[in-house]
């Protein structure tokens, strides 16, 4: 058998396939980040927490409502996307409002709700906090309902969005940790995809490929290409891209830019939740699963070029492959190799491989 640097080529091929699977997760997650950054100019640090939430929602659907994997694949992104929309409307958008009354309503209602729920009804701190957040968001939404949505009048730095979403991520993780502990929850592979195939190349067995992993590659490729097509090739995508370039001009043409931004954020978040559901049967479903992954995904986004759709897809898959290689030849470095590449890319092309220098 042919060997490459002492590793049989068949084994190497298997490892590359595995790298591609990890790459699919990087691709979907960094795609969501790229869409959000491209349109909202927000570095969404809550992405990892929302990915984790997607996996947890799938678990909840199964254990509380008896809804299985396939429905969860649709429902969890919708539910988490909905949460994302509420987050954008009530927390992120007001960052750039000149009138902060909506935020005062939000804070006031949340605080009162928390006091009432935790002392009046003596709920546990976690439940009281979640309840209070719901009350706060509901009150702020009712307040904002009939008022015309304000477009951004104050230009804010990326840093504020980053800090805000980072704080939200910590809160979301903390709530799940309090409620479900840290050891994680079991979530099985759907029966239709159980088992696997022995892959052979010229009659030499390469590896045992679980059906579920093959499905992960297919599903993520479909989702990535569909997103790319929608943004780069359709009229809606053209509006989105135009709104990124010049929101004032686009809204002068009668396009509701704030609504479009909110929906975009919801969509980006839904992508994260979709990845979460895909991950639930193979990774441990625990509150820290997103925090561990998100740093790598950010490196992927930076290498691909902030905001570049195609860049994030291609870099996601490529870096999965690179990581796969490293795991064979020098496993100790497998968690650092992506960051080494990030440093090299930033030195040579500061805007990223696919980014445009602004």
């Amino acid at each position: 058998m042919i060997t490459i640097f002492g590793v049989p080529s068949a084994a190497l091929f298997g490892q590359l396939l595995l790298g591609l699977i990890n790459g699919s997760f990087y691709a979907i997650l960094s795609l969501g980040l790229a869409v959000i950054f491209g349109l909202l100019n927000i570095i969404n640090f809550a992405h990892g927490a929302l990915y984790m939430m997607g996996a947890f929602v799938a678990w909840m659907l199964l254990n509380y409502l008896g809804i299985g994997y396939w429905w969860a694949l649709i429902l969890a992104p919708v539910i988490v996307g909905g949460v994302g929309i509420l987050i954008e409307r009530n927390y992120i958008a007001p960052l750039s409002f000149s009138d902060q009354r909506q935020s005062f309503v939000l804070i006031g209602a949340t605080a009162i709700g928390f006091l009432v729920l935790s002392f009046g009804f003596s709920l546990s701190a976690t439940l009281a906090f979640v309840g209070a957040a719901v009350i706060g968001v509901a009150a702020a939404s009712i307040y904002a309902w009939k008022r015309p949505s304000q477009s951004s009048t104050v230009h804010v730095d990326h840093l504020y969005g980053l800090l805000l979403t980072f704080g939200l991520a910590l809160i979301i993780q903390g709530l799940f940790r309090n409620q479900y502990g840290v050891s994680g929850l079991p979530y099985g592979i759907p029966p239709q995809l159980a088992g696997g195939q022995q892959i052979r190349l010229f009659d030499a067995p390469i590896m045992f490929m679980p059906n579920y992993r093959a499905w992960v590659i297919v599903a993520s490729l479909i989702v990535c290409l569909a997103t790319w097509f929608m943004i780069e090739k359709t009229k809606l995508g053209a509006y989105l891209r135009a709104a990124t370039e010049n929101p004032t001009l686009v809204s002068a043409f009668g396009v509701n830019v704030p609504l479009m931004i909110t929906l975009t954020y919801g969509f980006g978040v839904a992508l994260a939740a979709f990845a979460g559901v895909l991950a639930a049967p193979i990774y441990s479903v625990n509150p820290n699963m997103g925090a561990d992954l998100i740093i790598v995904v950010f490196a992927v986004v930076v290498i691909g070029g902030m905001g570049s759709i195609l860049g994030s897809i291609v870099t996601g898959f490529t870096l999965g492959l690179v990581e796969g290689f490293t795991k064979v030849f020098y496993p100790e470095a497998s968690s650092t190799v992506i960051f080494v590449i990030m440093v090299l890319v930033l030195l040579v092309k500061p805007a990223g491989l696919f980014g445009r220098a602004s």
Partner: protein, 402 residues
Amino acid sequence: MMRKLGTVIAAALAASCAGAAQAQVSVKLGVLNDMSGLYADISGPGSVVAAQMAVEDFKAAEKGIKAEIVSADHQNKPDTGSTIARRWYDQDGVDVILDVTTSSVALAVSEVTREKNKIFMPSGGGTSDLTGEKCTPNNVHWTYDTWALANGTGAAMTKKGGDSWFFLTADYAFGAALERDTSNAVKKAGGKVLGAVKHPLSAADFSSFLLQAQSSQAKVIGLANAGSDTINAIKQASEFGITQGGQNLAGLLIFSSDVKALGLKAAQGLVLTEAFYWDQNDATRDFSKRFAAKFGGKMPTSAQAGVYSSIIHYLKAVEATKSKDTAVVMAKMKEMPIDDPLFGKGSIRADGRAIHPMYLFEVKKPEESKGEWDLYKLVATIPTEEAFRPIEEGNCPFVKKG
């Protein structure tokens, strides 16, 4: 947390008030562990419940001992842990600190305890250094240690025919120590180690490492890691059909709460060593059912049971000596044999190691399990004299001198 702490103190006080007339010694027991992070399910608030049960079951108040329990979260940070320990010893009058998960924090608390000349009884903390090179005359290490786990699983599996090993090792000091100890046990039992792959801490994907382990053709894949790394590795091993293919997985640091989190479908066939399992005999079942009734239906882990037993043993020594002087109580604890409903018969050695039998378990198949918590079947009992590292191999400084 404050509310829970309040009830614990109130319960302990109420218990002690009943016998206040004859109370002669009052002791304060501090349960210090990870209340919210990585190891909270292994010890955490459950250990406080176990401590409270120990005081009640011992009927401390009737025996003239006023026992009070306090608890705190060390957040897995050695500096936080030693700060709390100092405050407890200096200001709050705590006599004993118990549990202390996370080896690095346990070592820090051990130093503070020696400096203040109090008593430290770790249960959740695992490093065998506590009774080895870093031993102190103030430590009683209760439930298990890394040597016992490595030896139990390594030697027992090798003797059962699993005589070739491949390790998946977390790439830091703890993983390396676990791999080293297990390798030694495997070689001593006549097995051989075919290789090892070091994976980064908190790796989500283990498939690549598992394939390397698979192609090594080793009969046993040893998981020298902990927490979510172990869980992910086991989950993915089942996905890639590794156990079905005839290779066995050996968890080197895994608790019943981890197995519960994995589910039997993914964890079946896993072999592991523990000091305690709730469904061993009538005494453990009785304790565990009462524990579960107080703790949301969760069965106790071995770390939590260890907190219970170590408090009982301590209180027995206090009762016998009518004193809480560290030297007097330590001498009595080491002199008295352990006869414990949960851990069986044993004793405490000069180096502070509490010895008792350890058990090799195999995780049941889903169809063998009769209930939500029916997780293990017993494979072998490791007798007391073989379960722990021989005292002369530990290089405990003050034992050598003596």
